[in-house]
């Protein structure tokens, strides 16, 4: 158990020495080093093993653990005397890195993070106007909820991968089989789209349709139209960087205010 936890602790440092030349290579070796030390007690063989893992390597930081699990098994084979495995280790690393990077990027950062973030945005849009009457500490639940939802899945999957190195016969590749992952991702994306649609509707209703203040015009109906116009504008400004869009919107608002509205 202690061994598992120590290895699990290491996986969070895979990018600590990320460099432009060979990217995650040192982080990869750092995770694999305790196993190489065990497999190769002779200094020369250990040196060879260490050096072959300093080649270029880059993938999604969560998914890298999966490649380490497979590499560890091959290194164990090589240490037992099956030297035919050694040229295959590098091929395995390079061939799996890109597909796993695409999978990790789109699942964790492209959909799961979006769902958790949009959930938090949903609560902010609904409860922002009532902040004056409530203990502010309660609102810490919003970022905390985001953190817990995201990390529940993130930490579980990383632990599942990391613990596989100590469990013989676990079908770790089956766990990330394409049909299953695609199904998870499609479902997660659908949830994200649904939350986003609710957030957009709620935002227009709560902040565009208010009679207690004048934002752009004195009539709520026209204020909502300005919001719709802003929304369409934001969709059509995709060639601009996010920073440019921010400054453009602020500039338009200042010009509007200067014109006397």
């Amino acid at each position: 158990m202690i061994k598992r936890l120590m290895f699990y602790g290491r996986v969070f440092f895979i990018q600590s020495l990320w460099n432009f030349e060979r990217m995650q290579n040192v982080g990869f070796l750092f995770l694999l080093a305790p196993f190489l030390d065990k497999f190769y007690p002779e200094v020369e063989k250990r040196k060879e093993a260490y050096l072959r893992h300093l080649e270029f390597f880059n993938t999604h930081p969560y998914m890298a653990v999966l490649i380490i699990v497979l590499t560890e098994k091959m290194e164990r084979e090589a240490a037992r005397g099956n030297s035919n495995v050694i040229p295959m280790i590098s091929k395995l690393k390079q061939s799996m890195a890109s597909p796993l990077a695409a999978m990790g990027d789109s699942f964790f950062w492209g959909t799961l993070e979006n769902v958790a973030a949009l959930g938090a945005v949903f609560f902010i849009v609904f409860f922002y106007s009532g902040f004056d009457n409530v203990d502010p500490r309660l609102y810490l639940l919003i970022p905390l909820g985001f953190f817990l939802i995201y990390n529940f899945f993130h930490l579980f999957i990383r632990y599942f991968f990391a613990s596989s190195i100590f469990i013989e016969g676990r079908d770790v590749l089956g766990f990330i089989s394409k049909p299953r992952i695609k199904q998870y991702m499609s479902t997660t994306k659908a949830i994200a789209v649904a939350i986003l649609a609710i957030v957009i509707g709620a935002y227009f209703y709560f902040y565009g349709w208010r009679n207690d203040r004048v934002l752009f015009f004195e009539m709520s109906m026209i204020d909502i139209l300005v919001f719709v116009l802003g929304f369409v504008l934001s969709l059509s400004l995709n060639k601009f960087t996010s920073a440019a869009k921010v400054y453009l919107v602020i500039l338009l608002c200042v010009i509007w205010a200067y014109l006397g509205n």
Partner: protein, 210 residues
Amino acid sequence: MIIENVVILSLIAAVFSVDMTGIGQFMLYRPIFCAPVFGYLTGDIATGLWIGMIVELIWFNAVPLGASMPPNISAISVLTIYWVNKYFPGLSAAGIFALMIAVPFGYLCREVDVLVRKINTSIMRWIEQGIKESKFERLNKGMALGAFLFFFKFFAFYLIAFPLGGLVFYLFYLHLPGFVLNGFVKAWYLLPILGLGSAVYSLISIKIFR
């Protein structure tokens, strides 16, 4: 403010930022998390939540992928919250002005990150040379040095940016004409719309791999 000491706040902000690439990737660096928490620590969680929402939505798909680095969105959020809560707490116009100043700092922070990653190449070579000479302990030392550099650069960045940017923010904000402030109040409500548009575009463009 619950915490006023800039050194302690810089340490906390560095913990958020180092999560982006260096250590963990627990999403502490996402504005939706770090802005409200920092807002609470500096005395106004409501502003933290709103700014966090704006930055999160506008930079919805801003994640570091390989060598491609987005501007440091945790720096943008944290700096905005600190300046507005320190000098003009609760003022939405001040929040937008602070955001305007914080955005270039986000880009600057990214450049500092790039610099450290270049230094990491030298550390990597030092480790490689060490292994060739059978000095295996260099691996752990190099990793520790890399993690420390990642953290320290953010700490130093915030230690300078908090007071420096704050001074610029405070001095300029006091001289802004009324119509500009009025425009900023409008932007307070319109920027989330811009963000929602960015989020829609990002979600549409996500491709489920084949």
